[in-house]
């Protein structure tokens, strides 16, 4: 299995541990990830607020980089990157006039948007391309006893017209993966909540409140850690957790792992190999207690 890999900006800095764990997991599963040469930021759901034509154009370029590689899919590990690339693709595939204009814009790059690659996320690819049975065979250390809270994040589900992998009102993909890995998924109110990351500057007070609730809810359900398929949700819930704590009298402590880190643990990697020590809220004690014995 080969994919064109679109890492996205956070994987180069704040979420480098997601790059490390994704590469480890892909290699162990025999998935080849070819990083796109010269990819740009997807716009992170901000650039369209200044210029939506530009937002579509830069992602047309990103997709065209993947088309040049002769693979059938571009893969990401970030919800927002996936949404931004898929939004551009949906617009370009539907609107011929827009596609002609965007291709005119790309002329200077020597590239063209053709529309012949799909954009997927690792979570989806594991289910629809790799297969859960095959993933199960690779599990070396079942995560028996580990209670995980699956926090989807908005942009892997919505809008359903653009994302549409599963029912956005009651998705099950994360639970399916957790089950294969041997972990127990807990039910919690904030499973489909918004992390607030995209407005953490202009709406800091409100977003910190969201962060606190998003940590307290899985805690009340007895979760050992929260799992997310998005590095932006991860950053909001982990790195901002000490700031969010200030608004709550109850202890909100909740370790937050990236999905590939959870998979990597079940594949037998150590927390250090998956760079779990990079998280602000230390996840290693709870992992040691439950799965690393």
């Amino acid at each position: 299995m080969r994919y064109a890999f679109f890492p996205g900006c956070t994987l180069e800095s704040a979420a480098e541990e997601l790059m490390i764990s994704t590469m480890k997991v892909a290699e162990a599963l025999g998935i080849e990830l070819i990083e796109l040469k010269g990819w740009t930021c997807c716009g992170a759901s901000h650039i369209q607020d200044i210029d939506d034509f530009l937002a579509t154009s830069i992602n047309a370029r990103n997709i065209a980089l993947g088309e040049k590689l002769g693979v059938s899919k571009i893969i990401t590990v970030c919800n927002t990157c996936t949404l931004m690339l898929r939004t551009a693709k949906a617009k370009l595939d539907k609107n011929k006039k827009l596609r002609t204009r965007v291709n005119e814009s790309l002329r200077s790059t020597g590239m063209q948007y053709k529309g012949n690659v799909e954009v997927t996320h690792l979570l989806w690819a594991l289910i629809e391309d790799y297969g859960l049975d095959r993933l199960k065979e690779k599990v070396k250390r079942p995560l028996t006893g580990l209670k995980v809270a699956n926090f989807y994040g908005c942009h892997i589900l919505m809008p359903p017209k653009i994302m549409g992998f599963e029912n956005h009102m009651n998705p099950q993909s994360m639970e399916m993966i957790a089950e294969v890995l041997g972990a127990e998924s807990v039910k919690f109110d904030q499973r489909l909540a918004c992390c607030g990351f995209h407005a953490v500057f202009p709406a800091e007070k409100e977003v910190m409140n969201l962060t606190g609730m998003n940590c307290l809810s899985p805690k009340a359900s007895g979760a050992d850690c929260l799992i997310t398929p998005c590095p932006l949700c991860q950053m909001q819930l982990d790195a901002y957790q000490p700031d969010a704590q200030k608004g709550f009298s109850k202890d909100i402590t909740m370790p937050v792992l990236h999905l590939p880190q959870l998979i990597g643990l079940a594949l037998g990697f150590s927390p250090q190999e998956l760079a779990i020590q990079r998280h602000v809220v230390d996840a290693i004690p709870v992992l040691t207690e439950n799965v690393l014995v």
């Binding site: 480098e16 740009t40 530009l54 409100e206």
Partner: protein
């Protein structure tokens, strides 16, 4: 016989409780059918609002298992399939004041909506005598936003309203402002957009709930992007939201990728960053998540990216 279990949130003005009802399953029914059957067959005291039964009046929206739906338009079978359960919880819409049971108060929302002048401010191109003629293309600009039936589903699902003090405008109000600001017969778009800007426009979190749940399929998040673009054109660039968006816009043009270290400074300025973000920065540095000395290099093909920007500028001004 299959039984569907309904748990309905009741409220009598003082007291709140959940009440259980059961109905036999019937194929091909709607949520509104269930509400009506419960009231007619089981409990005449249950209060909910409804009228047209055809997704036109917008009065029957409620929450089912935590998600908001227009009851008359929503198939019971689809809901049972979505939640894979025969147990349904009915609650009033969120982010509204509740009057009784499932009935919510609209008056405060209508008062709030007046801020954006949700009416046409006519230009002198038209008059009562001559009429206010609009081309077909111009009509299409407003045809989708005028589909709004004020059902409140977007408000109920809005993640900003869930934590906001009430200043932020409900998505249907933003839609109203959009609808009049793009109307070719309106001569004062700024009068609709300025109040939007002044009421925390940049606090929308981009969660996509409104666009995903609108029973009329109105592209609300695209409208919010438009309102933000227009506020920038009006000169409103000196705020965290616009500065944050420009940080991304400029970084992509200059290097191709985001400079995460500089992002807070570009958004909040050096002084505010230094006074408020120091603990955050220190913990990020400690964990190796920020390297303050790392400056991203320009990507391969940055020249082409700059050309794309130039082209987009020309499109904007053409």
């Amino acid at each position: 016989m299959r039984t569907i279990h309904y748990k309905i949130k009741r409220f009598d003005g003082k007291r709140e409780w959940y009440q259980d009802y059961q109905l036999q399953y019937e194929k091909g029914k709607t949520i509104l059918w269930a509400l009506t059957a419960i009231r007619e067959q089981l409990d005449p005291t249950l209060v909910f609002t409804s009228a047209c039964r055809h997704a036109i009046c917008g009065s029957c929206a409620i929450k089912v298992n935590g998600k908001s739906f227009l009851a008359c338009k929503t198939s019971l079978d689809e809901v049972l399939e979505t939640f894979k359960s025969d147990y349904l919880v009915f609650e009033p819409l969120s982010n509204f004041e509740v009057i009784k049971d499932l009935a919510i108060a609209w008056e405060p929302k209508m008062e709030k909506m007046k801020q954006v002048k949700p009416w046409l401010i006519p230009s002198n191109k038209g008059s009562v005598e001559r009429g206010f003629i609009q081309s077909e293309d111009d009509f299409h600009e407003i045809s989708s936003p005028t589909d709004c039936i004020l059902c409140g589903v977007c408000t109920s699902e809005c993640n900003q309203l869930a934590v906001n003090d009430g200043t932020y405008l409900d998505p249907f109000i933003l839609n109203r402002a959009y609808r009049f600001s793009v109307d070719s017969r309106d001569c004062a778009p700024e009068e609709h957009i300025r109040p939007v800007y002044e009421n925390e426009l940049w606090k929308c979190i981009h969660c996509m709930q409104c666009i995903s749940s609108c029973p009329k399929g109105i592209p609300l998040t695209d409208e919010i992007a438009y309102l933000r673009q227009e506020s920038i054109k009006m000169g409103e660039v000196n705020n965290q939201g616009a500065k944050h968006a420009f940080a991304f816009y400029d970084d992509v043009r200059n290097k191709g990728r985001l400079n995460e270290t500089m992002l807070p400074i570009k958004t909040d300025g050096l002084l505010k960053t230094a006074t408020t973000k120091i603990p955050f920065a220190l913990r990020m540095i400690k964990k190796g998540k920020i390297n303050p000395f790392h400056m991203p290099k320009a990507i391969e093909g940055i020249k082409g990216v700059k050309e794309i920007y130039k082209y987009a500028e020309e499109v904007k001004h053409s």
